[in-house]
């Protein structure tokens, strides 16, 4: 669900590419053709995609943790079943995306190692804690809502396997947002304490949700090249504005207020204008200093280490069965 434009600086030499092949590649992009795994592509296109798709995959995997925190404490069986299904979807989305990244020549083991060592980034939003049940509502409504805004244009991204993964993901995502909004609606129609819980969740998740779209266009080094190659279809600021315009009326319907004194409707443009985002906080959380960064990575590392014997045993079992089948075949001949 959770792509985020993190705009990591591009490293490595800008190798002199074969000009003719580059021209052919760009002509295909301009003609809205999809690029497939074995097609020639510029190294920078490959690197950008590996970075973006794997960050997106890592975000899905880490994104299971804040919500998983409430599975055992969901207030009813209906809510628990929905939350379980949602968290399972996030795991599935991570797997579709890892598979898409692998078609670019990176292995699953490398990708997982990058996440666990802290070298790879994931969406900053998952470094915030889920303190109350209302946070599960706010995540579905706001975080999945922001993710959908980001992801729908990615269904038309120029790299075929990424676009196909995004189509599957978007189909499954809409349930996530609706179940979150339904939780918020139920709380807002409940007791004053329940409504206060919903308001508190909105107050804490609103700004981090806006940060999910990544740094402002003026500071976004890769936007121009990514737009040129149709990896991205809209800029960070365009998507952020779309999200605000769609979400503010939904919040007002709930009878909630947004934690932004500058938020106002601009009738001239038809857009909701919002106050300044604290980019210092965004950079801090991304650099590893958010409320839950250490806990999230720690949990992933523990799960990986504790599952090592299962992976080993499965491979050993498969090898033993292969050897036995081969021996029987020889005996039969």
């Amino acid at each position: 669900m959770y792509t985020q434009a993190l705009n990591q600086p591009e490293t490595g030499p800008n190798a002199a590419e074969d000009a003719a092949r580059l021209a052919r590649f760009e002509a295909r992009i301009d003609a809205e053709e999809r690029i497939e795994p074995n097609d020639w592509m510029p190294e920078a296109y490959r690197r950008t995609l590996i970075r973006q798709i794997s960050q997106h995959a890592h975000s899905e995997i880490v994104g299971m943790l804040p919500e998983g925190n409430w599975i055992t404490r969901a207030p009813s069986l209906r809510r628990k079943a929905a939350l379980l299904a949602k968290v399972q979807d996030e795991g599935g989305h991570g797997l579709y995306l890892y598979a898409a990244a692998e078609t670019l020549g990176v292995t699953r083991e490398e990708l997982v190692a990058q996440l666990l060592s802290g070298r790879a980034k994931y969406s900053s939003i998952f470094n915030y804690p889920t303190l109350t049940w209302a946070d599960i509502g706010a995540i579905g409504w706001l975080v999945d809502g922001a993710a959908i805004m980001n992801q729908i244009p990615l269904c038309r991204t120029s790299y075929g396997p990424y676009a196909r993964a995004m189509i599957r993901i978007c189909k499954e995502e809409s349930f996530h947002q609706r179940q979150g909004y339904e939780i918020m609606l139920t709380l807002c129609r409940g007791t004053p304490e329940q409504k206060a819980m919903a308001q508190d969740a909105l107050d804490r998740w609103w700004w981090p949700a806006l940060m999910m779209f990544g740094p402002p266009d003026s500071e976004s080094a890769h936007t121009a090249q990514s737009m040129r190659w149709k990896i991205k279809r809209f800029t960070n600021d365009e998507l952020r504005q779309q999200f605000v315009d769609a979400t503010v009326p939904q919040g007002h319907y709930l009878g909630l207020t947004f934690p932004d004194p500058e938020l106002r409707f601009d009738p001239a443009t038809g857009h909701w204008r919002f106050g300044a985002i604290d980019w210092e906080e965004f950079r801090r959380v991304l650099a590893g200093d958010g409320p839950c960064n250490r806990e999230r990575l720690e949990t992933r590392r523990r799960a990986h280490d504790e599952g090592a014997w299962v992976r080993e045993a499965a491979l050993a079992h498969a090898a033993k069965r292969r050897a036995r089948a081969a021996a029987q075949k020889i005996a039969a001949e």
């Binding site: 692998e102 699953r108 499954e172 079992h317 498969a318």
Partner: protein
């Protein structure tokens, strides 16, 4: 962290009776049986299929995109393989 890589499998799903199996993605698994189970969990959470095939990715031989012209261009110069190449008088009716 040097781990033995988990083998890769391509997943094909038949969505409804009468349709062909269609490629939907891939999974990593130690053997065919686990690949089937992983494919079921990953690709059929909403009734997407009635049947799954898993094939070791290494067993697939694919054409090279660079050979596209050599392989497929000759068909463009053979319009006589299409029914519209032949003229049949209107009086004969539909054929």
């Amino acid at each position: 962290m040097t781990e033995t890589p988990m083998p890769l499998w391509e997943v094909f799903i038949r969505a409804r009776t009468g349709l062909a199996h269609r490629h939907v993605g891939s999974v990593h698994a130690a053997d065919a049986e686990m690949a089937l189970q992983a494919a079921r969990d990953t690709y059929t959470r909403r009734g997407e299929g009635l049947s799954i095939w898993v094939v070791p990715s290494a067993a697939i031989t694919a054409s090279d995109p660079a050979d596209k012209d050599m392989l497929f261009e000759p068909t463009a110069s053979k319009p006589y393989r299409h029914p519209t190449f032949y003229t049949v008088p209107d009086e004969v009716g539909h054929m």
